[in-house]
Amino acid sequence: MNKPLEAGRLSAQEIAPGQWQREYAASVGGGKPTRNRSGIEVKPLYTPQDWSGDYAAALGYPGQPPYTRGIYASMHRGRTWTQRQLIGLGTPHDYNARLLDMIDQGTTAVSLIPCNSVFRGYDMDEVHAELLGTCGVVVNTVEHMDQCLAGVDLARTSCAMNDPSPFTLFAFLLATAKKRGVDWNSISGTSNQSDYLSHFIANHMFFRIALPGARRILTDQIEFCQRQVPNWNPMSVVGQHTQQAGATPAEAMAFALSAAIQYAEDCRARGMAPDSFLPRFTFFFDISVSLFEEIAKFRAGRRIWARITRERFGARDPRSWRFKFHGQTSGVDLTRQQPLNNIARVTIQAMAGIFGGLQSLHTDAYDEALSCPTEFGARIAVNTQNILREEAHLTDVIDPLGGSYYVEALTDEMEQKILAVMGEIEAAGGMYQAAEQGLPQRMIGASARGFQEKIDSGEQTVVGVNAYQVEEGRSERQALPAPDPAKIGAHIAAFNEYKRRRSQAAVRSAQDGLAAAADDPKQNIFARVVEAAEAGCTHGEICATLRRELGFGQPLVMV
């Protein structure tokens, strides 16, 4: 009988790197180098020769500089990421029903996405009615916000509001809290789209206030929150817009970090101490299906931000150094062809974000390339997170890929790439000036075009699009039905009724106060926006007043 194999190792002489090199070259040959989306060459194998960094200097421990391994000591083992699904559709009542359903299924925080009419700075009676509520909830007043969040305990639920400057949705939330007797000190959440530069450069979903005005309102909102809503994150720096618009992962991270520097400099110029506002800075990123590249992007970004806050801003509070971020799986990677394949893509994207150490996650529904997500698609997206957490146990070990020769070498290379792009932005005078000059817009345009050409040439496979196609029937592609026109009609009628019954004197006086604040740099514009919301002003009225006083915003589009 043979002896059972005992634990042991081969002898060192049998390990032959030269032989591996020869055998690999013989089987694969030279060929074209493989590059990731950020343009970094990826080798076939990583060994200690590629990464033999100093553990303490390059990795350290979670919750400690250089923060490569995560911003908290316990990371997902202590507290899992927040499951924050972006939803929004139809009327406030429709939204509320869907929200309560999602909360029942495990969503732990609110993220409200308004109708595109709101994103454009208009009320529902100023736009084509057939577009209302087709991809976001139509919220124009404090009453609508109250309806959206009926049954939600505002003191215990973190609410993300996807509204750019002048933050009317946030103002409606504060007004709702006051109506319900909820102390603003207990309100928590994030102004998810406060990064006006990323809107100007890439996503263009903003209320059309010219750049200098948007800049001032953001700084005013940060100052207001410090005094009045201390648990709110007024600043969300968005790398997601630029990456969705075509920036590579390294470029998107560089743009976000450069924008964060700009906002922090603006706060500092206002006289705020870095440790008073940096702990409330958060980030929001896209997560593509390029798994290792995304993981390295997040690890590198975390390390760079810790250095920026310490070295450039002299922050001493560790909360200022922490790179808190929300991740959203990339919609651009999803395909209309064989849409169920998107479930696999979203799973990989979510894993990249989780291994990258995110604090909050939105998983896209598989049907987002077909229409706004159906309820069925949204449920699978939530359950993808539940499966990764509770079946696959991805939360058991902190930074499980830390120490991988590949992941560490790639983290270093992504860091270099990100720093190089940040250097170009800095040389242009910082992110504000670079955006005015169109520098990031040109880089995004070139990267978007380059990536599409890789798909068209077949260099980048997209399953179902340029490879592995099948004949598909229409029934496989269910779309979300448009909102019921009768419901939208009733919503408009109720809105008109609201406008008739509110105190016209209070509305006029609030609008005058808002206009006066816009003309007086000593006043805080956001404080007046909140007062206007409380007085019954509508979203469109507030935006129109500010556009009149501060100028109409056009994005600088480069083709």
Binding site: E130, H204, A369
Partner: protein
Amino acid sequence: MTTQPPKVLVTKIGLDGHDRGSRVVASYLRDAGMEVVYTPPWQDIPAVVKLAMEEDVDVIGVSSLATDHLIVPKLMRALHTAGLADIAVVVGGIVPDADEAMLLEAGVARVFHPGSALEEIAAEIGQLARARRAVSI
């Protein structure tokens, strides 16, 4: 007589600002030798009609990511009223199957879905432009 290259207006109407698709397509068409008139997002329908008339374009490409394709029939009617029914209109973006039928019914020449190759889009637009020239000469 020299043949003018096809002239295309690439635009977005309605409320959405996501313009990756329209930017990529516009830059490809330009590099493919076409004359491209490009607008930022959020154009009003009358502004698109006016621009199409002033620039004498052969084809209008409307990009839609977030349901703005629903007002394309209004654009078709406005073009018709302005006597520009000979301009071909194509739509690219996220268009559910049921809505595609509605758009074709309204007179849209072609709907390009996500995953369409740039070459294919350029070939189709070139063909539509040539067809318009053939008729108007």
